[in-house]
Amino acid sequence: MKIVACIKRVPLTETQAKVAADGKSLDSAGVEYMTSFYDELAVEQAVKSKEQLGGEVTILTIGPGSASKELRESLAKGADKGEILVDDNWSMRDNRATAKALANRLREMGADLVFCGRVATDRDNASVGPMLATYLGAACVTDVVELELSEGKGIAKREADSGVESYEFSFPAVITCQKDLNEPRYAGLKGIMAAKKKPIEELPLEAEDNQIEPLSLDLPPARAEGRIIGEGADAVPALMDALLNEAKVL
């Protein structure tokens, strides 16, 4: 079994966003990075799947060489090796170019089972998992909250707006991980030590041109200053008046 978790580095959740001088990109000065929240679930599910079905877990990322920091963290949690498709323009690479390059590499690797995050918390696209599955011709279930695997096939439950949907599929398959799927484990000291000896390979990226062209990047318009209507339940009539006659939302 070849199991792969695709992870992406994203700015820390607390990052104060600033627009760069070009007016089109994020000012990266002082920005620190982490593995995207949902990709931690992807790594955990990959390791769990290996524990159940056997095989080998590779962590795959398109990013700068320094993304080895995030890869080591994943290796410390039980993955076997890492691969970086080195991309100097990683932060602006669009979802098509990203998905195609990942799919090409996954095909070469002969991946049976691929885990992605539901969404990367930088551009909030929620696109690369189902896109790369389509390029691979693999089955794909998105937003998965429960997964049952057996030899060569599985059943995945996905959280949809109207309820929970179950899908049956065969390998090769791509699963995008939603919050309730698992609780990512902590890397113990032993894991951290072991990770130092695990291989991380850097490969050149052959990416196609972007189709998404940024025109401008702006801070969102500030909301007009609101007001405190009053204190306690006695303020309810004033609130109703504001909603009915001022904001006219009821």
């Binding site: 966003a17 170019a97 909030d124 794909c140 062209e213």
Partner: protein
Amino acid sequence: MSIAIVLIEHEAGTVRSASLEALGAAQAAGCEVVAVATGSDAANTTAALGEHGAAKVVVLGGDKYSPDGLAGDLAKIVREQGAKAFLATASSTGRDIAPRVAAELDCALFSDCTAFEADGDSFKLVRPWLAGKLIASLKSNAPVTCATLRRNTFAPKATGGSAEVMQVDSSTDFRAVLSKIEAKAEGMLDVAEAPIVVSGGRGMKEAEHFSLIENLARAFGNAAVGASRAVVDAGWRPHAEQVGQTGKTVAPQLYIAVGISGAIQHLAGMKTSKVIVAINKDADAPIFKIADFGIVGDAFEILPRLTEAVLEARAKV
């Protein structure tokens, strides 16, 4: 006039408001609209779709649902119609299907857009980045512009027209197949779709106290219950109700935050709501900084009174 294919979502033949918004968005961008409806009762959507500006409706037959199968069918329709755009709503279904359609067409995907405009031969789109901390204006250089549209953001357009209807068989070549649906409690609106959202946070103290939130939502008649991550993590409410960076993005007409402090990750999911009301006993809670109207005080006192007032106001209309 360029053609836009719009994926329609419906509930037993009643078209979801978000899909009517998508039809409106396509027309506002100067497109002729071909709507595609699938599933049982899909044929019942055609009149409403025509009345909202669809020139043509493709009804996809078939008794099995497969996201990869549907995406393949949609890509085929895009090619056959020579469409320049493919639009879906940024719902759980739209966000599942649209990336696959984009990849089938070898095109990039624009997710969760808040604006969609014609730009010469192509399109310009606007969408939030970094959980809404930045707003990106983007030009599409894709042969077909594929996008999902944020709900409650675009205006539907009632044209009173009627659509030409085409019946097409869906493919039967599936990689993943839907085998079961555990539907949500009936009559509950999804938090990302409802025009009014009443959300509770840790200030509600216990899961049982959410009955106060539910009562207020019910009093409005068209509201959904939302939750902060703190209460979802505590197991008081399901994750499907979570609003925020790791939950859903909502943009209702009215968002009422009760006992929610207003952490940046929560704001990321609701700050584009039209009107925001905050109820919190701490006058310094950050939620008051983005609220249009605030009441400082105890939710347990305020909620019953507010529920009563809403019922009274609705009885008058």
